[in-house]
Symmetry: C2
Subunit: 141 residues, 2 copies
DNA sequence: CGGAATCCATGCTGATACTG
DNA sequence: CAGTATCAGCATGGATTCCG
């Protein structure tokens, strides 16, 4: 089910390391760390996902995510904008109106993320079961 | 909770939310948060990736990841084992030998992650360029 | 060698207040 | 409405130390 995407040859295979010019001191680790640093936070993925659907205003965004605070939304938005994943359009009006929209780059992120989300959804029960088994085996943890 | 309800038919589509019994207080956000909590940390993905390639011992793992500390490796391994993504095999010998291997579930994670990593690798330069542009436009930041 | 517990430093996150 | 700045609290990550 879901898009299993590629055939998944290896994980930290050489091609990945070669394709990455992360210039870190690690082979593929840098790439993973890179993507994690980018969308591994609590809200980035949510915001990009919401914006992928349609453009939204600051308040709209805050209303939809809800759990996010004013500060975090601003911070997340700025970071996303900086990475070119989200575009910010400010209208010099009164009251001020700012609309955020996902860029082409931001939309391209949706595909791979969807794959990961699909995996999580598909294997959620399996993980829960594993946790239950583990918890049962080590109750005094 | 009169949730603002779903507003992301594409990204956090209903089927995803339905498939997840994460029992959070968010609709599809929970799924993303869930997967983020699972592999969104600094090392889980790296460890699973390394193990996806082949089984490794504790020391081997620490040597390959390198940047990870003793404590973090143990913690990450335990967490991964708890989720059923990694299997732990301890040999009651002297000196003790413990081998870690990715489970079928752990290997299935490689596919979607690879997609995300591929995205990061492919759009890395685009993001860097965007950052440069942003940084250039906001020097007084 | 592998693991666990402790302690510490840092970062991230959230709440609040103030400005335009 | 949108954004920024400051403060305080919690969580994450790291180093060390002791045990099997």
């Amino acid at each position: 089910m879901t898009t299993t995407d590629a055939a998944a040859p290896r994980f930290a295979d050489h091609p990945l390391a070669s394709a990455s010019t992360c210039s870190s001191d690690e082979p593929a680790s840098g790439v993973i760390r890179d993507v994690l640093s980018r969308v591994g936070d609590k809200w980035s993925l949510l915001v990009v996902g919401l914006l992928d659907d349609r453009s939204l205003r600051f308040t709209e965004l805050q209303r939809k995510v809800d759990g996010i605070s004013h500060r975090m939304l601003t911070q997340t938005l700025r970071n996303l904008e900086r990475d070119g994943l989200v575009s910010r359009t400010a209208y010099p009006e009164i009251p001020p109106r700012v609309e955020y929209a996902a860029t082409d780059l931001g939309r391209s992120l949706a595909a791979p993320v969807l794959g990961l989300v699909g995996w999580a959804a598909a294997n959620h029960e399996a993980i829960t079961a594993a946790r239950d088994t583990y918890d049962d085996a080590a109750p005094g943890a």
